[in-house]
Amino acid sequence: MRLARIAVLSVATGLWLSASTITAWSHPHVWADMRSQLLVADDGKITGVRVEWTTDKAYAQDALDGLDTNGDGIYEPDELERLTEENLKALAEYNYFVAFRFNGEVQKNGIAKDGNQTYNAADGRLTLTFTVPLETPLDPKVGEVKLKVYDPEFFIDFEYVREHPLLISKKLTDGCVAKLLPTPSDASIEQTRQLLSTKGKDWKPENNEDFGGMFAQAAIVECAK
């Protein structure tokens, strides 16, 4: 009798625990291989970025399930349109994971536009492309332009692709160069970790940086003075 009670208890406890964590499983973590194309105006100012994120297969399965409305096995642009639209709407709450800084100052993003999504049947992955304009264009001759694309909560793991990770839409003014800073090395991550361990729980990184940003790979535009 008591055995039966214990069995019921164990099952119930298990179910209860899974209920409390089910929200954490409901969305898998997403891995994204990305490219960033800096948008350069005629006057050489940076006006924003066009990002290209190729997400993992598991995400595509979740996202595409049932979207092939005409059942031809191909995901046509119009079948993916709503997905793109809704994704951009939701991403707006996260500032599109696009963080521009000008001489260290956080810059404001405008509303994303020109969203496009394609499905590559060969590798089963979706590629989302969209433009995040800056509210105020930045002049790299005046100060350092820095871009980080990352999820502060690491729900999505963004990583630059190996080939042509950083592009520019137009040639920069002479003397200016756009480059991707190296990924933080294990040593520097360890250093950051050590630094964090010495800080109190109320400590925050400087300049409105967040913890995720401390580990993200940065793209910068610098001009020779």
Partner: protein, 364 residues
């Protein structure tokens, strides 16, 4: 009583554990006219429905609790919305099924007059089918008692609530508060039971003192001393037995009067599980499903009790072995679980209660 309460709590826990499932079942149905399925999105929308990224427990227990609470409440209210939106059949069906399973398992524990009915069958050498009939009658009486008790309670509380605010919201809050109170009681009785175990057990039942726990006495319809039960309280006294007439009280030839007497004696004490299911079903706006569940649960207990009665008739020895106490470590494990279960249910009820006061109840 405490054992029954604990197991009852499990039903809530079981029930709530499937509540989040509704939202998934719902999202699985793809329909162009419906709102966009959030599982498709790269990120979790941080909007009014309250789903947010849960902060890892180790990172910040306070934030974790807040996020989990928010998500849990979100899942609950989505489940309730689904129920109101016509998906209630699935919820009700699950509740009914769970109640049946609960009834079958629960009746294996103390109470429900198994011993009485079996002893009666043995003492009076009545036919097994008569024992089964009594078991059925007592299960029905128990279900009806639970429904009457909870219905009157809810009417009372609801009547008090309508004057000041939305009756449904008030009832919901009251239900959650009641769940929390039951959890608190469970915890209390676990403590009390623990102290009780620490008392050296005296041989025999006569000098046995009821230390630190509450006995829910029933009015004995037969009018005899209800404490003349002839069993021993072991070192780990379950004390979950109903105080029912002994076999001798109803010995003699079969009569409907005696059968009813037995059925009422066993069934008049409402099954705590049924009480909780009803309260919980009410909180979910599924009272009718709670009523059905109560009867289904009674049917489950009836099946188990009948089986025990059958075993008693066919093998007295086997029945005695089944009724004997288990090993000590099992008892200790049970104590630990009683603490955990009581605490869990109390917190659970408290969270829901608070959320119902401050949460977006109005939108449900």
């Amino acid at each position: 009583m405490k054992v029954i309460l604990l197991k009852l709590a499990l039903v809530i826990v079981l029930f709530t554990s499937f509540a989040p499932a509704f939202s998934f079942a719902d999202t699985a149905a793809v329909n162009a006219e419906q709102p966009f399925d959030k599982k498709r999105l790269l990120v979790r929308p941080r909007n009014a429905d309250g789903t947010v990224e849960v902060t890892p427990f180790l990172q910040s227990p306070v934030l974790w609790a807040r996020d989990e609470q928010q998500n849990f409440y979100g899942a609950m209210s989505r489940a309730i919305k689904d129920i109101h939106g016509g998906n209630g059949f699935a919820a009700a069906w699950t509740l009914v099924l769970l109640s049946f399973g609960y009834g079958v398992l629960h009746a294996a524990g103390p109470g429900h007059g198994k011993a009485v009915i079996s002893a009666w069958l043995l003492a009076t050498e009545n036919q097994l089918r008569r024992g089964i009939l009594v078991a059925f009658m007592s299960a029905v009486v128990q279900a009806v008692t639970a429904i009457v008790v909870v219905s009157s309670l809810l009417l009372l509380v609801g009547g008090a609530g309508t004057a000041t605010r939305n009756a449904a919201a008030f009832l919901e809050s009251a239900s959650f508060a009641l769940i929390a109170a039951m959890g608190a009681y469970l915890l209390y009785s676990a403590f009390a039971g623990h102290r009780h175990v620490a008392q050296p057990a005296t041989a025999g039942g006569q000098t046995h003192k009821h230390v630190g726990h509450v006995h829910f006495e029933i009015v004995n319809p037969i009018g005899r001393d209800s404490h003349s039960h002839d069993h021993d309280h072991g070192a780990d006294c379950d004390c979950g037995h109903a105080h029912v007439p002994t076999a001798r009280d109803v010995s003699g030839a079969w009569s409907w009067r005696k059968a009813f007497t037995l059925a009422f004696a066993v069934g008049i004490r409402p099954c705590t599980g049924a009480l909780l299911v009803l309260v919980f079903a009410n909180a979910l706006g599924l009272y009718w499903a709670g009523v059905v569940s109560t009867f289904v649960m009674a049917f489950g207990t009836f099946i188990t009790v009948s089986c025990v009665a059958a075993v008693a008739v066919y093998s007295k020895q086997l029945a005695e072995r089944l009724a004997a106490g288990d090993a000590k470590w099992l008892g200790r494990m049970g104590t630990v679980m009683r603490f955990g279960g009581g605490l869990g249910i109390m917190l659970f009820g408290a969270i829901l209660f608070m959320a119902s006061l401050y949460g977006p109840t109005g939108s449900m």
